[in-house]
Symmetry: C2
Subunit: 430 residues, 2 copies
């Protein structure tokens, strides 16, 4: 790890700058696959599944028999854990239900918002070595609480045409409507445009590789909406002399094992902690199955020593980490100063993996500095707000003249007239 | 207008399909301008202002003297109207303030959300024949209530290098921090990347032509976030036999005058109303200054006659209009059935222009069917939610085993270990 002691403000930039992600070289490939899915539907999906996932699928949809079969393929311990996680995620997201307020802005003018579920949503769960069943819970649970009618899930099958049983169990527990054995760009295309088998959805969620990210960006321009831009996962641990070096090292490693491009940052006010953490990292790293990935990720990571907590929080807000662990005394007080972060873990016992799996918060969060303007996935991500208004005759008299004056000055006389015909009507009836 | 009487469900598609907007032919031009702004900053901004807005600017920023000068260039009537509109917009958006709840999801595990302002936002206000000062109020007012530190506004100057005084007055009333005389793609680039004069912002709002829309899409992929995709403005009027034909005609025309690509739709259960509305349209159209635009827009518009209100609402939810006017008996009851719409106007006196200017609701709304997944601009658009969590020793015991089980099954052993070191610590201390 690269150690920066008391860097100047100019050097902060080095810490805060993320690797520039440029997927423009993939763009044409992705466009071609998407266009084929749009034109040919299931036929093209099957062709790409054969090409990319090396599997010849007859049915694209996971059958009820396969779902039932997964019951016996997953241990009771894991099933109980999934249920506990689901319960906590449910509780926290259910608490986010929007309570509308009616506001009389002027006499006779009443306005309100209502939160309404997005009818059809699509969830993408990547394949690869590790089955990300936790992400199934994180996306499908709030979708179900929001009241989405149709929750479609796409995930690549293995070469035997099977989906990991833990993913199926998580989908069952969280209430996914339909599961399809489709991966990559073809999955994004199928959900964005609809095919004979896959319903067209209105919003697509979930992580993926650069091809999937690029496909989501392309379909979001004119077909559907998406959750947020995606980049490599990140953690920043803020620690003072009260921190437990073994905990801090474990937290840094848990991020570093995600991938070689993971971003790991330790910011501390305690010089003596740095050596202790480095020692603990060596110790813990040696026994990790994914130690190669973790060591490569750590090579590009920073430890920053700063004078005081004000400086620490200034750097933190500039960096805008996806995950922020506050392993410090008075953590809750300092948390008040957080302006840019995805999810904040307060105090020595609040590790990121708690929130990654089972505390109840969502783990789909803004990376790459996007925490400056994006929220993580929450109940609202699966709903939209519709505004309503009602004017009475009194309302026409109260705001009518202002509306007509403004419309006329914007040279939109038909807008002015729509109010004028009502204004006249109300006056005539008086 | 194209009249469809009792169309089959298949024919609904014809009504619901929007014109496909393809700005890919502009993409390279837009990319070139953006790249120049990124590389050269103000110098490139000035060059494009000369090329596109035909003006040679010394200062890009509107001066205090110009702001003061605008006081005397805007009538007292318009200033009073702007203040009333601002007051109502403030009241409605202030009522949207999020109230966080702390939830104990499990013993010893507490989670909450907090809404935090986006520090720097950029507003784009197009130029052209009509000065869209109402949009200044609609964007800057909630930005100020949210607590954004910096609210930057870009708008193209005229050939004398001046900004319309009504735009300056609206900006002053709503509390814009800095106003720049920059239009088009160069404005989007300046706010996305920052220049010597223009601060880099984290989110860009506001309407614009196809070049501006394309520029917003491009910068949203890796630099900033944006409000929403933009398409031609739309209104759907739902009317029954209780509707006032003059009101309905005025509402349709007020949308039609926006541009030749505006979408206007009348859906009714009353056959006799159709003739009356068409007569009223002829009458009102003849005296409109923008009658040429309005007539061309009406040529591509539909009147749909349906059997009953259930059918009407099914079509409405399929169409997902930006603006929906319910000019019917029992309008508030029917409004309960709205699932997809940007903003809903309930009853005969609730005209769209009320919400366009002064009722308090926002007029920046999802078009092109995006009301199926997007909200209009609201207070939340200028804020993001950060999640927080705190685990106690008890929390570690409650969810620790589930976290470790799930992490291990996802083959993320460092994630498992981050919980395991804490679990051991708590057990050892018992």
């Amino acid at each position: 790890m690269n150690i920066l002691k008391y860097p100047s403000r100019e050097e902060w930039q080095q810490v805060c700058t993320r690797p520039h992600i440029d997927n423009s070289s993939l763009r044409q490939t992705v466009l071609n696959v998407l266009e084929a899915i749009r034109q040919e539907g299931d036929k093209a999906v099957r062709r790409y599944e054969k090409e990319f996932d090396k599997v010849d699928l007859s049915d694209l949809q996971v059958s009820d028999a396969e779902l039932t079969e997964s019951d016996s393929l997953v241990s009771e311990e894991l099933k109980a854990s999934l249920r506990l996680a689901h319960q906590n995620i449910s509780k926290f997201h259910a608490s986010q239900v929007f309570e509308p307020k009616r506001i009389e802005t002027c006499d006779g003018v009443t306005c309100w918002q209502k939160s309404v579920p997005i009818e059809k949503v699509g969830l993408y769960i990547p394949g690869g070595t590790a089955p990300l069943f936790s992400t199934v819970l994180m996306l499908a649970t709030p979708a179900r609480i929001a009241g989405c009618d149709e929750i479609v899930l796409c995930t690549p099958p293995n070469r035997e045409g099977k989906v990991n049983p833990a993913i199926l169990q998580a989908a069952k527990i969280a209430g996914v409507s339909k599961i399809f054995k489709i991966g990559g760009v073809q999955a994004i295309g199928a959900m964005a445009y609809g095919t004979e088998s896959v319903p067209k959805v209105y919003k697509i969620f979930g992580p993926g590789n650069q091809f999937v990210v690029c496909a989501k960006q392309i379909v979001s321009v004119s077909d559907v909406s998406i959750d947020m831009p995606a980049g490599p996962s990140e953690v920043e641990v803020v620690a003072d002399e009260s921190a437990n070096a073994a905990f801090v090292a474990a937290d840094l490693l848990s991020q570093a094992e995600h991938g070689v491009d993971s971003q790991v940052l330790l910011v501390t006010t305690s010089e003596s902690l740095i050596e202790k953490v480095l020692d603990e990292i060596s110790l813990q790293l040696s026994v990790l199955p994914r130690k190669d990935i973790a060591s490569r990720s750590l090579e590009n990571s920073h430890i920053v020593l700063l004078h005081n907590m004000d400086e620490v929080m200034a750097l933190t807000n500039e960096y805008a980490p996806e995950h922020l662990i506050l392993a410090i005394r008075d953590a809750e007080e300092v948390a008040e100063q957080v302006r840019n972060a995805g999810s904040v873990f307060i105090g020595h016992y609040s590790c990121e993996s708690a929130g990654d799996y089972a505390s109840g918060t969502n783990h789909t969060l803004p990376t790459n500095g996007y925490a400056k303007s994006y929220s993580g996935v929450c109940l609202d991500s699966f709903m939209k707000r519709i505004t309503f208004q009602r004017l009475t005759a009194e309302g026409i008299m109260t705001i009518g003249p202002a509306v007509m004056e403004m419309a006329h000055n914007e040279q939109l006389d038909a807008h002015c007239n729509a109010m004028a015909v009502r204004f006249k009507d109300v006056k005539d009836k008086k």
